[in-house]
């Protein structure tokens, strides 16, 4: 033991002598370089963290989000889906782009369950979202019109969405069926419902923290073009795999 201690003492002495030997400028520059690299690493991490390349799929339960998720990832919804209990998230290259030879950055897609009890999960992913895809069931639209409009209204008035101007794509799913409504019809209906919601909600809230934002222009009928963040409408069919408009949206907002 004592031998060891002696050796350690010796090495310490040697080290000190060597350090003292070095000119002070070298020491200082070395230290500064070290500090700089550490700061840059941390900053880099921070930036990577806040740079958002996440696409969030949201919508009512049963609108087809999980099917779309697997279409994007694997090109087919495998054997079908059931009501999701947890969000699906993954980093991947879009299936249709997987044939391209050049290296494409993977996209992170999150499929948030639509069940009302699981709505708070959406708030976990919104801060990192580069774009939101709101999936609407074009087939079963009218009975659920109010619920769809309420959910959409809540998303459009979240502070995150408004401040970061996150673009929203309203995707009308299940358009392969004959009785599915067209996207224009759905857009008009949603605008009408949100207009009504706007009046009934803002008429009462003066100090409401969550819904600080009034959508659109007061006094005029609400239209999606009035939103500060870009809101667009598109059609798709998850089961059949017709998701070109959705992929376009993704490529637009997540740089490949």
């Amino acid at each position: 033991m004592e031998h060891l201690l002696q050796h350690v003492e010796q090495w310490k002495g040697d080290l000190e002598k060597w350090v003292r030997q070095l000119p002070p400028e070298q020491l200082y520059t070395a230290l500064v370089v070290l500090l700089l690299t550490v700061t840059f690493l941390l900053l880099g991490r921070l930036f990577k963290g806040t740079k958002s390349n996440t696409i969030v799929l949201a919508g009512l339960s049963g609108s087809g989000k999980t099917v779309l998720f697997y279409q994007l990832r694997d090109g087919s919804p495998h054997q079908g889906t059931v009501t999701s209990m947890e969000p699906n998230e993954d980093w991947f290259i879009l299936h249709s782009e997987s044939e391209k030879k050049n290296k494409i950055k993977p996209v992170r897609v999150v499929d948030v369950p639509g069940h009302p009890r699981l709505r708070p999960k959406l708030d976990e992913f919104l801060p990192q979202a580069a774009g939101i895809v709101f999936v609407v069931d074009a087939l079963d639209f009218l009975p659920n019109c109010r619920a769809v409009a309420e959910y959409l209204y809540d998303i459009l008035t979240k502070t995150n969405v408004v401040n970061k101007k996150i673009p929203v794509l309203i995707l009308c799913n299940k358009t392969d069926k004959v009785t599915a409504h067209s996207k224009e019809f759905i857009r008009k209906q949603l605008e009408k419902e949100i207009d009504k919601l706007r009046t009934s909600r803002t008429a009462v809230s003066t100090a409401d923290v969550t819904n600080e934002v009034t959508l659109g222009i007061a006094g005029e009928a609400f239209a999606f073009v009035q939103c500060h963040n870009k809101v667009s409408v598109a059609e798709a069919s998850g089961i059949k795999g017709e998701i070109t408009q959705l992929e376009q949206f993704i490529r637009e907002h997540v740089k490949p």
């Binding site: 694997d74 209990m85 290296k103 919601l197 909600r201 009462v204």
Partner: protein
């Protein structure tokens, strides 16, 4: 006879299904199971009964979880049968599947084969007519169809070999499996022979399956053949018997009433955890930090025995907060069911929490799981925005009718006045109906409130104006309510608040009268008024009320309790468990909370603060 055996992930993707071709499940039992049972934290129940609304088929569902891989295994069979082997079958399937499942695995063929063996062995006693659907690989878009005739023979052999009496596959079924053709390497004949022999052959089948070229920087899951199964099973069908989720928790209106004031939350710990979540990369990228932590904390798998002491402590803690004993028990079991088998080094989050609270890791897991579960239960599954509903009814030209029910002395009349006050502040025309014809002074009490709030009141004495008096007939509160609603429609009132007499849940004639009132008038909202001081009786009250309302109604679609009004909230300090018991047992959300005895003392339930208080 098993109708269906299904394996799916918690995220919703169906991994494997063993369907009886031609015997599609009627209705959507799996979706209903998820919505009404698993998401309601009743996953510790033994089984779930489902009745298809139109087709009249009744099923029983049993399930089990594999928490490590986030899988759910469900078996469906006819309700009239009593199958004893289902639990064992599920356990066996779970074991086998867990052994061969890998989210990125290539050898799906092997999984299918093994699973079919297990199923065949497990249900060999029963007469399963047809084999399940074969899912093969679609390797690189080239698909050489398998010899259909070959399959026929093989199936025929197998059927005979297993000693099953039933006929071989119908030609329709054959066409279906033809579609699910494999990449030419998956030899179905071999599969059948292997099945009949019950011998595992790992080399030939697996070796012939070529892998897809792994792309750079992606993990590509295997693409399976897509056999459109819409005609048979439509799992994404939103058709549901129960009233479905309409919107979510929304901050209600503002004004003088405390309903409208936002509660200041102590947001310290919430923010920290949120920040942690924001800054973490997706958990698939594990850094050096995580690996270091893993090596420190070890890699324990949570067993039931590990969880037991912590569970008991958690249950006791919940019970000290006035949660009913039954509910605490069920909740703890449900949370344990979702944690069993999980390995404790699961995510970066838990590690960061571990640093903050360096204590028993099991307790930590349980705490977080319970917190999530409580948040889930207390989050309403339908909109509690009454003002919106009132506006909708107004647009349609009818008054919005709210009925207040509950046992004696919980504060129905007082809180009715509070609700009337709140509605008045939002420029809505309110009318009250005094259907409490039993208690002395009830009508006078309401009359005083009506005078102070300047709303109109309909009581028994109003009858001469509205309808013929019939001897002994006017005492019926149902008729008073009906008259009140008609009067409201006539003078364009927006809301009608109906006060009823308090009654014990066991009192049969009174419950019958209540049921008659509700069914005759079909109110828009049936509010159960419960006091926060109630203990274990809350469970009994709510179940009996719901049950009686369902049993004693004439119509098939009985109106049940739609919402809860929690009263006397200011008298309990942190013993807020009654809210949880009531919400859990009835599934309906808490719409209002009465927190005082003056008009403005009405507020919304703050879910996060309740959960924090419960787990403190």
């Amino acid at each position: 006879m098993l109708e269906e055996l299904l394996i799916f992930t918690r995220g919703g993707l169906i991994l494997w299904t063993c369907k009886e071709l031609g015997n599609a499940l009627k209705g959507s039992p799996i979706d209903t199971l998820i919505r009404s049972c698993l998401l309601e934290e009743r996953s510790a129940d033994a089984s779930y009964d489902y009745e298809a609304p139109s087709a009249g088929a009744a099923y029983t569902l049993k399930w089990t979880f594999h928490n490590e891989l986030n899988l759910v295994f469900v078996a469906v069979y006819q309700r009239i049968l009593r199958l004893l082997y289902v639990d064992d079958l599920l356990a066996a399937v779970k074991r086998e599947f867990a052994a061969i499942y890998d989210p990125r695995s290539v050898a799906r063929a092997e999984e299918m084969r093994k699973l079919k063996q297990v199923t065949a062995r497990g249900s060999g006693n029963t007469t399963i007519k047809k084999q399940g659907q074969l899912a093969g690989h679609k390797v690189s878009q080239r698909s050489s169809s398998d010899s259909g005739s070959g399959k026929d023979d093989a199936d025929g052999n197998l059927v005979k070999a297993n000693g099953m009496v039933n006929e071989s596959r119908a030609p329709g079924g054959m066409v279906k499996t033809d579609e699910s053709s494999d990449g030419g390497a998956f030899d179905v004949n071999k599969l059948q022979k292997l099945r009949s022999k019950g011998v595992k052959k790992t080399n030939t089948v697996v070796g012939k399956v070529p892998k897809a070229e792994p792309k750079k920087a992606t993990k590509k899951n295997r693409v399976w053949d897509d056999s459109p199964s819409e005609s048979q099973l439509d799992f994404t069908d939103p058709g549901d018997q129960r009233e479905e989720g309409e919107g979510e928790v929304v901050a209600a209106v503002q004004g003088e009433s405390m309903m409208d004031k936002e509660e200041e939350l102590s947001s310290d710990s919430d923010d920290e955890v949120d920040e942690v979540r924001e800054n973490t990369q997706p958990s698939s990228k594990k850094g050096w930090f995580t690996s270091v932590l893993q090596s420190i904390s070890g890699n324990t798998v949570l067993e039931k025995s590990d969880l037991k002491p912590a569970l008991k402590a958690l249950k006791d803690r919940l019970m000290t907060k006035n949660v009913a004993e039954e509910i605490a028990e069920k909740l703890c079991e449900s949370v344990a069911a979702s944690l069993e088998g999980k390995s404790s080094d699961h995510s970066l989050e838990s590690h960061l929490l571990f640093i903050r609270y360096p204590c028993n890791i099991i307790w930590l897991f349980l705490q977080t799981a319970m917190e999530e579960a409580l948040l889930r239960i207390l989050t309403p599954k339908r909109s509690i925005d009454i003002l919106r509903d009132v506006h909708v009814a107004k647009d349609q030209g009818k008054p919005y009718v709210i009925v207040f029910v509950g046992v004696n002395g919980v504060g129905k009349s007082t809180n009715l006045a509070k609700v009337a006050y709140w509605l008045q502040q939002h420029e809505l025309k309110v009318m009250m109906a005094a259907c409490d014809t039993f208690r002395s002074g009830a009508v006078e009490q309401l009359r005083t409130h009506a005078r102070r709030l300047q709303v109109s009141l309909i009581t028994l004495e109003e009858f001469p104006k509205c309808a013929d008096i019939r001897e002994g007939y006017e005492k019926d509160p149902a008729i008073v309510a009906k008259e009140a609603i008609q009067e409201a429609a006539r003078n364009h009132s927006d809301v009608v608040l109906v006060d009823t007499a308090g009654r014990m849940q066991d009192n049969e004639p009174l419950m019958r009268a209540l049921s008659k009132l509700i069914n005759l008038n079909q109110p828009d909202l049936v509010l159960f008024v419960g006091e926060a001081l109630v203990g274990n009786d809350a469970v009994d009250q709510l179940t009996k009320f719901d049950q009686k309302l369902a049993d004693l109604s004439m119509t098939p679609n009985a109106r049940l309790i739609d919402g809860i009004l929690l009263t006397k909230f200011d008298t309990i300090d942190d013993k807020v468990g009654a809210a949880l018991s009531m919400v859990y047992i009835s599934g309906s959300p808490v719409m209002f909370v009465g927190c005082g005895q003056s008009y403005a003392d009405l507020k919304k339930l703050n879910v996060k603060s309740i959960v924090k208080t419960l787990l403190k």
